[in-house]
Amino acid sequence: MSDEFYLELSENPVQFENASSVNNVFFDEANKQVFAVRSGGATGVVVKGPDDKSSVAFRMDDKGEVKCIKFSLGNKILAVQRTTKSVDFINFIPDYPHLEFSHECKTKNASILGFCWTSWNEVVFVTDQGIEFYQVLPDKRTLKLLKSQSINVNWYMYCPETAVLLLSTTVQGNVLQPFAFKSATMSKMSKFEIELPAVPKPAKLSLSERDIAVATIYDQLYVMYLKHHSRATNSPGAEVVLYHLPREGTCRKTHVLKLNTTGKFALNVVDNLVVVHHQSSQSSLIYDIKLRELDGALNVHQPVLPAQSINPYKIHLTGPAAAPSQAPVPCELYSSSWSVFQPDIIISASEGYLWYLQVKLQPTLKLLRDKGKLMDFLLRRRDCKMVILSVCSQMLTEGDKGNLSVVATVFDKLNQVYKEYLDAEQAYTAAMESGPSRSSTSYKRPVRTQAVIDQSDMYTHVLSDFTEKKGVKHKFIIAVLMEYIRSLNQFQIPVQHYLYELVIKTLVQHNLFYMLHQFLQYHVLSDSKPLACLLLSLESTYPPAHQLSLDMLKRLSTANDEIVEVLLSKQQVLGALRFIRSVGAHDNISARKFLDAARQTNDTMLFYTIFRFFEQRNMRLRGNPGFNQGEHCEEHVAYFKQVFGENALMKLATA
């Protein structure tokens, strides 16, 4: 059963003291830190981050109820908001005085809605009348105003990944004004309007921050709007509307995710998938905005998989109430005490847990029947490699054999990604070689994602096992191998020789030599020395392999020595000599090697011819027909004399 749950909570959650009357809990999305503030900080503040290093514990004076508490990036400066007028700061930089200083917002009569850190020392105050961008000077214990902007603000939302701040403006609150922050600068981006399902009369605040989330999906910033079911529009269910927010240019509505139900929802983004949690049905849906729907309007998406609950989770009770050996108890999923944060965080403040939401890919294999769609889906996931490889293995060896066109589709999809990576890598190498100074844009080495499944992966994890599997028809094995080679060729990816060897091995095993011959004839199995040698080894079972091998060596044009060896081993001494002469390398060959071979044939006329050839070569090269000491031909000279007589030796021409 458990392999049906495709969503799960992380194994190692961040645990903190649960919220209570004496313990307030805060979460900072930028640093992903949970603050447990006991008694306003007087009895301690415990900060737990995603890893142990970022955990901090300290005390501070209780100066009133804490509304918001956040570290700047790198835990350098702590900011605490206790009133609507000011924010207090405490240095956490070593060697700086650990003293609080306070800063009031500059706009009169404005009340601070909150603040966000944009770097280790830059902070934005968001007030109901605008924003104020400050640089904190910890040594002087003051703040310097960098920029401010006045605008009526209903509420705000900050995306730490992109440092984009989103402000809700106008009476209805549906006009959103984004600002981007980057090293002491603040830039206003173009505002946009969220389409409300119904316009209330008289106008009142109609867009709640609960229905808006900001996240990066496939490296692009999106504003996600949870558009509730409206009786007026007669729509079948709620939807999530995605607005693409580019760095430059206008924001556009780009995707609609159909939820097909109503109720309370929460959003996460995990591995570039939009996850929509539905509380009343205790289940979640996932959407991939890159997955094209075959039917329906463009960019209207249905869930990739059927709705499913998050994998049941058990927690160990801790604290004084729990006995040490007590069995873990099931955790209540989709609890109303859950808070969901972007991109992938779920917090249960009442239980003191912070989880990361994760997508498990293995269950998708069963749930997504269409292999092409499944591949599209998997190739875009982070930890997809082994799952993809297992899909390939299954597709080939399962009882319900995927038919060849499915196999072809899958291979093509894999090789498309593989080729893109190879091209990027090549472009990078080329750019590096041409000199990094010349190129204005700095080239980044392409990242090899797990989706890049190369030939060696396919060979090791899929094909070599598959070809040895009992009970699979050899016709199918060969068809699959050829299909993979076809796909590689189609994407102009050079095929590695071990794939050819696999083809040859399979063909030879089933005595399909004529097929092999035809493949070689059409150069489907590309030439290489290893392949030529493999063919040579097949000669005893299939004599034509000899010719095929020689042809291949000839085409390689770098294998002249091998050709000579092959011919000599066949006692074709004259042929070897004629060949080496035709390629113009006869001045560098070893006379002894040829004479040895000629002697072995027991053909004295042949020996004579070969001997004479080398005498002539010696003459031409050194002006003397005799052999050099280093050539070790004494034995052959003696034999020549013995058979043909001393006089037969070539004489030095006398002038």
């Binding site: 016709k475 299909e483 004529y514 035809q518 010719q547 042929g575």
Partner: protein, 480 residues
């Protein structure tokens, strides 16, 4: 080796008679071992009108010759008998089954003055044993392709069935033997392969594999384009004879009506929403015809071991022809043919235009005018690949050559010389009228080149051939 051809041009008034078939018979000595039962040995005799005793005499003579020559070499009895007027060829394709073909030598009729009857001069040396020996072997292979072996027929239905089959087959087949135009190519029985780039070839592979997967009845597939082979799922020997049948009989039969404008293949069929040009060359001529018969020719393959009987379905779209071979035990229905048509038709049409496009691209790259116009025949014993720039398009009736028969004869002679030894060889012949004929043999490959260069000397001819090898055969290991 340099030889000067002794032949001279013939006179004008003479009448030349090409070699022709005198008789053709098949016998098995075991079927009538006793005296008085000799007739039982004879399984087939052409021409049928020959008187019984003469048949018996002729068979007896052949038997005697074979028996006699066997005493000299038990494993290799006589293959042919040369006489002044004719030449007899013997072939024992199956144990004790003998096929004999008697060919009348070509002759010249010289008119005599003074009203005397013309003198007939037989040209005994004009016929090449290897050429007609091969023709005889081909007769058997073709019979076997469509009928299986002699012994199987005998086992199944005795002499009666066997003689029935032989008569039915050879009565028609012998009429299609054109002994006057047999030449070196008959010795090779080669296959012309269609030159193709790797990617298109792989697409064809993929097509064949997918069709075989979806139509699981299909056991073997062969793919041809422009009457040239691209892929064979059959073993080489079976493909060799099937190729011969397709290219010399089936395809020409369908091309000629096409050329004549009847049965225009350019009327596309619509399957689903796809236009296609596919049609059956064997089986139903028109699928929509309610009277259509779904009978296909049957062929026998792998007769040495598994002995399979198969339906031969030949399906063509534009220049691409595919043979699908299905176990003969299965009855092929209208549904199957319709399924095949709708599956294969559109794909094959697309593939055919792909191949055509690729072929034109490749031809443009290599440049058709760049290569010198050599007349040559190339043959590789290993894969039976054959390439001839001497022969024109084959038709059902005759194969046309663009060179004088005398030159073809020289090619045949060189081939015989090559067959005698295993070593690589090269023979250059100076023929009459400024022709040079060069034969080269390297490992399993043979190349014959005919050059017509006025006043060329041996060295120049050699250089010319080297140039040809460098341009045409640079991707194979061909010793020069």
């Amino acid at each position: 080796m340099l030889m000067i051809s002794p032949r001279m041009a013939s006179g004008m008034q003479e009448k030349q008679y090409a070699p022709s078939l005198l008789s053709f018979f098949i016998y098995n000595p075991k079927f009538g071992p006793r005296e008085g039962e000799e007739e039982k040995k004879i399984l087939f005799y052409h021409p049928i009108e020959i008187e019984k005793n003469e048949k018996i005499r002729n068979v007896g003579l052949c038997e005697a010759i074979v028996q006699f020559t066997r005493t000299f070499c038990p494993t290799k009895p006589a293959k042919s008998l040369h006489t002044q007027k004719n030449r007899q060829f013997f072939h024992e394709p199956e144990e004790n089954y003998w096929m004999v073909m008697v060919v009348r030598n070509p002759m010249v009729e010289k008119p005599n003055k003074d009203g005397k009857p013309p003198t007939v001069e037989y040209q005994e040396e004009e016929i090449i044993d290897s050429v007609y020996g091969s023709v005889l072997k081909q007769c058997y292979s073709m019979y076997k392709l469509f009928n299986g072996t002699f012994s199987r027929a005998f086992e199944a239905g005795g002499v009666e069935l066997l003689t029935q089959k032989l008569e039915k087959f050879f009565y028609r087949y012998l009429q299609t033997l054109h002994l006057q135009s047999c030449d070196l190519l008959d010795v090779f029985g080669g296959i012309s392969f269609f030159p193709l780039d790797k990617m298109t070839y792989l697409k064809i592979q993929s097509f064949v594999n997918r069709v075989e997967e979806s139509l699981s009845l299909v056991k073997y597939t062969a793919f041809l384009y422009n009457d040239q082979l691209i892929w064979s799922g059959l073993e080489q020997d079976d493909m060799q004879i099937l190729y011969k049948y397709l290219t010399t009989s089936l395809f020409p039969r369908h091309t000629e009506p096409e050329l004549a404008g009847r049965d225009s293949p350019l009327r596309p069929e619509v399957a689903g929403n796809l236009l296609h040009y596919g049609r059956f060359l064997t089986g139903p001529a028109n699928l929509k015809d309610p009277e259509a018969k779904f009978r296909f020719p049957k062929i026998f393959v792998n007769t040495e071991d598994s002995y399979e009987e198969l339906h031969l379905i030949v399906y063509k779209a534009m220049s691409a022809a595919v043979c699908f071979m299905v176990n003969a035990a299965v009855d092929l229905s209208r549904e199957f043919c319709e399924q095949l048509d709708s599956l294969v038709g559109p794909q094959l049409t697309l593939l055919a235009s792909d191949i055509c496009e690729q072929y034109n691209i490749n031809r443009r790259i290599s440049g058709p005018e760049k290569e010198p116009q050599f007349k040559f025949i190339y043959f590789n014993h290993m894969n039976l690949a054959e390439k001839s720039t001497i022969h024109m398009r084959k038709t059902a009736s005759v194969s046309l050559t663009s060179v004088h028969p005398d030159l073809m004869k020289i090619l045949g002679d060189i081939n015989c010389d090559f067959a005698r030894v295993d070593e690589d060889e090269e023979i250059i012949v100076k023929a009459m009228t400024d022709y040079w004929v060069v034969g080269k043999k390297s490992d399993q490959r043979e190349l014959y080149v005919i050059l017509n260069q006025k006043n060329a000397n041996l060295i120049e001819v050699n250089e010319e051939v080297k140039r040809l090898c460098a341009t045409q055969f640079n991707n194979i290991f061909f010793l020069d």
